[in-house]
């Protein structure tokens, strides 16, 4: 299930804005919905609002935005076009309108569905297929990871995860997903404990029979080789790569006797010292808590919403987390909202939706192409650009450094011009020229290592 278009007729700062979310002409996926979308733009342009509108249209789920704005604010104001089905064979337009029947007014989601453009289909069976079959049997639940993730890593407490239609981590603790593998871990640990106890018994009963002891030990080895170890799995295939920049890894050898001993995932340094959960850095919590839900929930055919994925992450991690998150999901559409040029550099230019205010205070989408929407007509490709270029050209940073750097560059430019003038006048050997040259050299040294 993927969104192909969002049309906002009139909603807060949006007026007559259509956001096309399909691949452009000339792309190998031309016309298909985008696999990932990145909203960028000044604070207040509505990036988070767009993200929070999606669950309402796709799952009838009220995010904070809908609670605050009220359902009335979206009635007849917004249309979302989607495609769904195993081969995206269904398309639909989702919107809210008020229906009046038997003297009562009710709000309902209306559908205008088409199987294919040329093959009109009655909307009712498609609606039923979408809600009863597609959403319940094929697609996993929509996942929403807000900017302010709940960093509480206690797994105790009542979880409503997924019970209200979507998995909303603005309301639920991310650490609850750990419960999804707690039983697997417990079962694994119990089996291991059993084999170890057998070894102990063997040693006690046949302490001089080395062959028997070796056989008992090799049973443990063999078991470990073949048995699926959920902690080792999450370490190898998800978290260790993300924890490596912090010189940390998942602790896989656990000394536990019951399910209660397991608690939350354990982290250790490379010397094997466990880092108590309460001492995890914010960055460690962020990587563990953002990646783990996707890995454990194994989302497929759904939409994943990620607000500010760069939070607390050092730039080196921001470089690859977007591709990494994509690798954890099957046929999903990701929506990100970011202020980070490094996050933006992970996207193809047509996947970036840059929102800007016009003179009247309404929001428009800055287009990166001129003329026809064709891959060849795009002027920027963030994946090929330098970070500073992304900052300047896409994030509209006027200068290439701090105001002080600009001041120093102006100073250097002025001295350069003065020196060259003296050179032309054959006065390069004068005291004045020498003093200027010294200043040029000093400033060049200070600034040139960082280019102009």
């Amino acid at each position: 299930m993927k969104i192909t278009k969002i049309h906002l007729k009139d909603f807060h700062q949006f007026k007559d804005l259509t956001i096309d979310l399909t691949y452009p002409k000339g792309h190998e996926k031309e016309g298909q919905p985008l696999d990932k979308v990145c909203f960028i733009g000044q604070s207040g342009t509505g990036k988070t609002s767009l993200i929070e509108l999606i669950p309402k249209f796709l799952y009838f789920y009220d995010t904070q935005l809908i609670v605050k704005s009220g359902v009335k604010s979206i009635i007849d104001k917004i249309i979302m076009s989607i495609e769904f089905g195993k081969e995206n064979e269904y398309s639909a337009q989702l919107y809210f309108s008020v229906s009046e029947s038997e003297g009562t007014k009710s709000t309902k989601r209306c559908w205008a569905t088409r199987k294919k453009r040329e093959e009109l289909t009655d909307s009712t069976p498609i609606y039923t297929y979408y809600t009863e079959t597609w959403q319940k049997e094929f697609a996993s639940k929509l996942i929403y990871l807000p900017a302010n993730l709940n960093f509480d890593i206690e797994v105790e407490g009542e979880s409503k995860m997924g019970k209200n239609g979507i998995i909303d981590f603005s309301k639920d603790k991310v650490s609850f997903v750990w419960n999804l593998i707690l039983e697997q871990i417990q079962s694994y640990q119990e089996q291991e404990l059993q084999i170890r106890q057998e070894i102990l018994r063997t040693v006690e009963q046949a302490s001089n029979d080395l062959t028997t002891i070796e056989r008992a030990l090799s049973k443990l080895k063999e078991w470990k080789k073949t048995e699926f170890n959920p902690i080792q799995d999450i370490a190898d295939n998800c978290l260790n790569r993300l924890l490596a920049p912090f010189k940390l890894r998942v602790k896989t050898e656990l000394d536990i006797k019951s399910k209660d001993d397991i608690g939350f995932i354990k982290i250790e340094d490379y010397a094997g010292n466990e880092i108590p959960n309460g001492l995890w850095s914010t960055g460690t919590k962020q990587v563990v808590l953002s990646a783990m839900p996707l890995y454990l929930l194994k989302p497929k055919h759904t939409v994943i919403l990620f607000d500010e994925p760069e939070r607390s992450l050092y730039p080196d991690l921001q470089r690859f987390i977007i591709d990494f998150y994509s690798s954890l999901a099957e046929d999903c559409q990701f929506f990100y909202s970011t202020h980070s040029p490094i996050i933006a550099s992970n996207f193809e230019p047509w996947e970036i939706v840059e929102l800007k205010f016009n003179e009247d205070g309404y929001v428009y989408r800055e287009l990166y192409y001129e003329g026809e929407n064709h891959v060849d007509n795009y002027k920027y490709n963030p994946r090929y650009m330098r970070w500073d270029d992304i900052l300047q050209r896409i994030f509209d940073m006027e200068n290439d450094g701090s105001p002080l750097r600009k001041e120093k560059l102006d100073e250097l430019a002025t001295y350069n011009v003065k020196y060259k003038k003296l050179e032309k006048q054959k006065k390069a050997e004068t005291e004045e020229a020498k003093t200027i040259l010294q200043k040029v050299q000093k400033l060049t040294k200070e600034l040139s290592a960082w280019e102009n």
Binding site: D396, N399, K406, L412, A413, N416, V417, N452
Partner: protein, 219 residues
């Protein structure tokens, strides 16, 4: 920011008549909206398709070429691959106050890059830096450094107030050293330098002032 000759030859006769009037009245009341393309494309013709201030390339020559005027009216031929909006400029009113009095005053109009226009906003430019003045020359007020690729106030100007004034114009109004403009200018000049070194032919179609300064290539 080079000198611009505001030639009126191809302007629509109705508009020229209004311009010729001594007591024009408020142009905003005169509806020249239907001649918007004529005015814009004539400006581009005078400016050779570049932003009047930064000299960044903002309009392809196909859009303002002579072929696009039929019996005094701007009409872009159907066969051309460009449409009338395929340029990145906006109409700038050099003196924002004059905009209120005579919106369509030809002498007060320039085409500048949209981004630069939003930075300039309603800030006025110092009168002596008007690019179509008879005695205007960029050399009088600016100098160019080919190491940092920045414009600076002419270092021969002794009047410190004037230097500050020009510097303010460079940074805050005309955006001559705007990060993207500066970088594009540096890249363009380096490309021309390479071509010149290899003996390849080249045409200068933007950043005329700085190119002339660095490569001594007059256009």
């Amino acid at each position: 920011m080079r000198k611009i000759d505001k030639i009126k030859d191809s302007l629509p006769s109705k508009y020229k008549k209004w311009l010729a009037k001594e007591n024009k009245g408020n142009g905003a009341n005169k509806n020249f909206r239907d001649q918007y393309d004529d005015i814009v494309m004539n400006l581009y013709k005078c400016q050779k398709g570049v932003c009047a201030y930064t000299e960044a390339y903002i309009c392809p020559s196909e859009l303002y070429g002579e072929n696009n005027w039929t019996t005094g009216k701007y009409i872009i031929p159907n066969e051309t691959e460009f449409s009338r909006v395929d340029h990145r400029g906006e109409l700038d009113h050099f003196d924002p106050e004059n905009k209120k009095v005579q919106y369509w005053n030809w002498d007060n109009l320039f085409m500048i890059e949209a981004k630069i226009n939003s930075i300039k906003s309603n800030k006025p430019v110092i009168t002596y830096l008007k690019p179509d003045l008879n005695d205007y020359s960029p050399l009088k007020y600016f100098e160019y450094d080919d190491q940092t690729h920045r414009f600076v106030p002419n270092t021969d100007i002794d009047d410190t107030n004037m230097v500050s004034e020009i510097k303010y114009m460079i940074d805050e109004v005309l955006s001559l050293n705007h990060g993207v403009v500066r970088k594009d200018r540096e890249n363009y000049i380096n490309e021309l330098k390479d071509k010149k070194q290899r003996g390849q032919a080249f045409i200068v179609d933007r950043f005329f002032t700085s190119v002339e300064w660095v490569l001594d290539e007059r256009t």
